[in-house]
Amino acid sequence: MFPVIIGVIATGHGGNQEWIAAGIAFFIAAFAVGAYWTTRFDIEPDHVVYQTGWIFRKDRRIPLKQIQNVNIRQNLLERLLKVATVDVETAMGHGRDLKLSVLTLPDAERFREELLGAAHLESGSAPKPEEAVVRLTNHDLLLGALTENHLAQSIVILMTVGGSSLGLAFRFADKLSAVAAPLVFAGGLALLLVGAWLWGAGAYYLKFGGFVVHRSEHIFRISYGLLNKVQLSIRPGRIEYVHLTTTVLQRLMDRTSLHLGTAGSFGEAGVFAPVALFVERKVAYDGASEVIPGLDIEDLNWQPFDRIFYRARVARSLLNIVVLTSLAALLNVYGGLSLVWPAWGFFMLLIAIRLATLFLAKPENGFAVTEDTLVVRSGYFHQSISAMPIIRMENIAVRQPMWWRRYGASSVIAQAMKHRIPVPAMPDSEIENLLSRWRDKIDTPENLSLYELIVPRETIPDPV
């Protein structure tokens, strides 16, 4: 509505435009009011009911058993207006299966309580009072923000601000002396990188400010955000993925972050809930073993990725070098552009950094298959440990290029309902080991009941 009005004002004195705009605005407003008056939601003994629509009615019922997460969100505008949006997620749909906008915050919280409470009663026990288990102090938040990995932001800054200032720099370079020019250039670059890093840290600070995790018997409740406030609820019984990340600086400080993925936390493009940020490594490990019983990360039998993984990576880098060099030479012969070789150097630097990272990470890279869990550790500057209970796996994909056959290794991706865990090169004997453990578990009554809990069998559509 606003863009239309602004558009009309901006385009000036056209004859009927104001009336047309007013008409459109009126209709939009009328529809909004209509939508407001016709939207209803209610919690019934075993369903949550949501009805909306004025001309086309929609009636949606979600069995309480299927509800995975209930999240409350507030963006900046909503915070100013003191209202909130409630998202109800199930395993069947795609992210937000039910979205209730413009509730007052107390109403939203009451609704969530009722919804989760009703869902709890299904499982036959009442929730206990909650206690805060993790609270991020301001000092830790600041340190965490500074030591996180902000490479993505740095690259964006380099590509946008960096590119245009490079053009400027070249214009002024010949006015400076031969000694001063590289110094000024290097100084500018350093300033840009530091700025990018601080920008990333600031974004992290705003995103995770006020980070608190409450825990009761049935629920993890996570809330954070200085500008956009997010409240996430996770049921521990639905967790299918555990992810720990540590940057180099954090490793020196013995700190790490723990994220959990549930079957329903999708629709959020790779965001799964953080439950502990910048905590001591021991605390994060304990947290991981609490949600996946029997997982002791410090006492795992790590096995390295097969050597073909490193050889393949090196071969790919060499191929890239050959292709880029011949491309640069070709451009130099035909175009004679002055920027070809600096650009070539930049890409060579990137390849060198990637290779160096690969070999720095090599001693710690590896995987472990325990009785119930698959764990993978990889990365150096941003090391991650991912774990998935074998019983949660839905399918396993094995990929073996022809030239890997004589190494007897393949790459494996194990996928649960929403999260996947890749092992880049695993010896075939270990794959068989993993598969046999998985086969033993998939049809145990425990797994079947787990699955019924997530997606009740009666909701699966019959073949037509």
Binding site: E394, N395, A397, R399, M402, D443, Y451, V455
Partner: protein
């Protein structure tokens, strides 16, 4: 445990048709240029070098389809559906039967001529795989087997 099965051999016609349509446009362009060059308004020599390469790939792909068919196998075991295919890069995918949510049939005009359907298997998380070229009568039975879940506990 069911025995190891493979797609119907007639699926090769479907695959060939797919390759031919994807390369057909390019072939038409190259032929057009060749005709022009005969009439005098020739395309430059580099054009044929670049156009010849994908054309060659297309012809090669036609011959490789047989190999692709030979390598495509699938099997329903008591707990899982196992699919395996690929020659240059070997793919294996094992799906838990009790996690299969729905099974779709897809068939194009050429597939329908030979009474063939592609079977697309979905779990709650993802589209996990497509078994190509199954006779529709076998496909119906296969769908029932896949949807009825694990055979024994």
């Amino acid at each position: 445990m069911n025995e190891i099965e493979r797609p119907d051999e007639k699926v090769l016609f479907v695959w060939r048709a797919e390759v031919l349509t994807s390369w057909g446009i390019l072939t038409a362009v190259v032929l057009g240029c060749a005709v022009l060059s005969v009439t005098g308004a020739g395309a430059p020599a580099w054009f044929y070098t670049f156009a010849g390469f994908p054309l060659g790939c297309g012809v090669l792909a036609l011959f490789l389809l047989k190999l692709r068919w030979e390598r495509w196998t699938f099997q329903i075991t008591p707990h899982t559906l196992e699919m395996s295919h690929g020659w240059l890069i070997r793919h294996r995918r094992i799906v838990s039967l009790n996690r299969i949510q729905h099974v779709d049939f897809e068939s194009g005009p050429i597939g329908r001529r030979f009474d063939l359907v592609h079977i697309v298997v979905h779990t709650a998380g993802a589209r996990v795989g497509t078994i190509p070229g199954i006779r529709s009568e076998r496909a119906e039975r296969l769908r029932t087997e896949l949807m009825s879940g694990p055979k024994s506990l």
